[in-house]
């Protein structure tokens, strides 16, 4: 956020960072900004929510035996999905047309966190299942 001079940032888990106040997740400044937004909007909270497109984001994980080389699993995934745009800034993100999957390894446990977003729950669930299957297969090959 500092590098790009971001005016607002945060995380999908409800963490709001507003640098005009300080660089840290802060629900209190989030409340003040949200109420200002809703007050100016002039209608109900659910009407404000409907202004934003709806996506289904599913969070899941794949558990692996501790001895598995997770980096090697990621390499194989990159190969398998090499025809799709990939981003490795924070784990591995794969973009499929209008949907995406994001994989992150945990610093503290032998798991890979899997996030999948799509306009429908069916597609998001299917993407999670496919990636879990891929990971299991590549882990077993080691």
């Amino acid at each position: 956020m500092k590098a790009v001079n971001a005016v607002i940032g945060g995380e999908g888990n409800g963490g709001i960072i507003y640098p005009a106040l300080h660089y840290g997740r802060d629900a209190m400044v989030g409340i003040a900004l949200f109420l200002s937004h809703l007050a100016q909007f002039g209608k109900s909270c659910s009407a404000l929510r409907l202004r934003y497109p709806s996506y289904c984001l599913i969070k899941n994980k794949a558990e692996l035996p501790p001895e598995v080389d997770i980096e090697a699993v990621f390499e194989r995934l990159k190969q398998k999905y090499k025809n799709y745009p990939q981003n490795t800034i924070d784990g591995l993100r794969l973009d499929f047309d209008r949907d995406w999957v994001h994989l992150r390894r945990s610093n503290t446990e032998p798991i890979v966190r899997i996030y999948a977003e799509s306009s429908t729950q069916v597609t998001a669930t299917a993407m999670i299942r496919q990636i879990q299957k891929d990971i299991k297969e590549y882990a077993a090959m080691q």
Partner: protein, 290 residues
């Protein structure tokens, strides 16, 4: 039972064997390692650390251990006592302290606790600094002050007001519009520090009709403290029953925000940031576009 020492902090469950949980011995070990790390940067000068805590049942025990340990290292302790994570972060900068420790396991269940470690800017220490702290802890490479250099202790309860005043002074916080709407707002603070922080914030923002749920900060979390939809069904019913315009749900250390609409539907945790970014960018877009 477990203790997880990572670069962003030390978290663990309370009770059990040393090294296998966040026992008093482990608390002192990591507090001493962090204190030693901070005092190394000071080259003999006097330093101070800001301390804050959430409302966990175990936190009074943990904070007494941390205070004594930091004083033993030779650091002055400014104790905010019950304070949100962002309040502690802002106090570190305002006090020009050399660092801060927040005692809170954030959204983890009540048998967990953690030491979250801040740098002199009130931000989480980085990877390299975190590794150095863990190295000091693992090597037992602590350094304690002699009798003439033991740190002082003082408490300061003014930082919640400081935090609130800084928020209401922000350009994009529209006090007139909020007051005019006459919102009825329900607050669920899951029995932690949000219970003493959010209602006064709302009053300062011009909200007069506030319904407090789980706002007694006694650490007996009335639902799973992670603000996910599956943990918020009872609160959604309260929103409808009370005809509230919306509800704010925070986690035990008030760094995450979930919103519930007037009809009891979840605004969605991913959408808290979406809506707020939409608002901020409405005013800031042009100047900052890259």
């Amino acid at each position: 039972m477990s203790v997880i020492a990572s670069i962003s902090g030390i978290r663990g469950t309370i009770g059990g064997k040393v090294g296998d949980a966040l026992t008093p011995i482990d608390v002192v070990k990591y507090a001493a390692a962090y204190g030693t790390y901070v005092s190394r940067q000071l080259s003999g000068k006097r330093g101070k650390i800001v301390l804050g805590r959430d409302a966990r049942i175990s936190v009074d025990m943990v904070r007494r251990l941390v205070i004594g340990t930091l004083q033993g290292i030779g650091l002055d302790v400014i104790d905010l006592d019950l304070a949100t994570t962002p309040t502690v972060e802002m106090a570190v900068a305002a006090e020009k302290a050399q660092g801060g420790i927040i005692l809170s396991a954030s959204h983890n269940p009540k048998n967990w606790n953690a030491l979250k470690l801040l740098n002199e800017q009130g931000e989480f220490i980085n990877d390299e600094q975190g590794r150095e702290v863990l190295q000091i802890a693992n090597n037992g490479d602590f350094h304690f002050a002699d009798i003439n250099n033991i740190g002082n202790y003082s408490s300061n309860s003014s930082y919640l007001q400081y935090h609130i005043q800084k928020i209401i002074a922000l350009d994009l916080v529209d006090l007139n519009a909020i007051k005019k709407r006459g919102f009825r707002v329900l607050v669920d603070a899951v029995n932690s520090v949000g219970g003493i922080a959010i209602p006064p914030l709302l009053r300062a923002l011009g909200v007069e009709d506030i319904i407090e749920v789980n706002c007694i900060p006694d650490g007996n979390f009335q639902h799973n403290p992670e603000p996910l939809p599956e943990n918020l069904n009872a609160i959604a019913n309260e929103v409808r029953r009370n005809n509230a315009d919306l509800a704010f749900v925070v986690d035990p250390d008030v760094d995450r925000l979930a919103i519930i609409c007037e009809d009891g539907t979840m605004f969605g945790e991913e959408y808290s940031l979406v809506a707020i970014a939409d608002y901020v960018l409405k005013y800031k877009k042009r100047r900052y576009r890259i």
